[in-house]
Symmetry: none
Subunit: 177 residues, 2 copies
């Protein structure tokens, strides 16, 4: 069973927006899928479902199977991929209001979260560390003393172990949605 009430509410709200903008909710979801597939590793449809849920799209695996077919997305050794080469042309029309949130970039790039003492280490897809660190810096979490990012790893330094544990669980919640 799913949480029908909140889902229904969310759907209605989303539909309201959709009508105002003249775009269907399905079309918006397709754009979100393209974005996720292009910028992060998506290994199966259930993973995609969880990532979409964090963005407000709550659908079942069956719907995603249909979406993927309609978008002509293919699956290979590196997870799902946009159609051949120019898979971007249609990917536009993505509104970005200000810097992305930690939740957003973690959904897109985050892979693993681990803690050691007062530090938290986040593994991301290649090139994902900088955006994650930037969003953390921007949101300015009180537990976080500072961040350092390489190519696919972010080191988050916290006040102490307890705060690190808090940060770890917050990030892990986002990731596991």
């Amino acid at each position: 069973m799913y949480i029908y009430t909140s889902a229904a509410a969310r759907l209605r709200a989303a539909l309201c927006i959709a009508r105002e903008k003249g775009t269907s909710i399905k079309y918006q979801r397709h754009n979100a899928i393209r974005e996720l597939v292009a910028s992060s590793l998506v290994s199966n449809q259930d993973e995609l479902r969880r990532k979409l849920r964090r963005r407000g799209f709550e659908v079942t695996q069956a719907t995603l199977s249909r979406d993927i077919h309609e978008l002509r997305i293919s699956k290979g050794p590196g997870g799902y991929a946009l159609p051949n080469g120019n898979g971007n042309g249609t990917a536009t029309a993505v509104e970005d209001d200000g810097p992305p949130t930690v939740a957003e970039v973690m959904e897109s790039f985050g892979m693993r979260v681990r803690r050691a003492m007062n530090q938290v280490v986040v593994r991301t897809v290649m090139g994902g560390a900088q955006p994650v660190a930037a969003s953390l810096d921007y949101e300015d979490w009180p537990e976080v003393v500072g961040t350092i990012a390489g190519d696919d790893t972010v080191l988050i330094v916290c006040q102490d172990s307890r705060h690190a544990t808090d940060v770890e669980s917050k990030l892990r919640t986002i990731l596991e949605s």
Copy 2:
């Protein structure tokens, strides 16, 4: 149950040919798969299995799943497809034996190893930090929570001080050997 006798006979015959040509039967099958995938529509692994059987290769779906993985073939709306664009160039020397080991890169680049609390800092020659960190990530040592690399310094975050000491000594051993 399958017809073991004829299968066995065919295998032996094929192996005989294989030896003469100096190529393994698996390699021959891989080439046949590439050819079929490139020139005809293959929608699933069972179809591929039947097509291969006509060419004298009698294997199960499981083996084909492994072959497809090794050949880095992807599946999309148009059936299976060879890897990215130049699907042919790779025809030879497919299996590379992965990234270099930590030992190899440390011998090449490593200069000094020091520890502080649960962290280990490795100094390398200029530009050596990334390869060292990459090999550490690849080998996925259990004591290591994560790594971050600059130009000539790698920071290795470990579970705790004890693990960091272990890592320190392992790296130092490589360096001094």
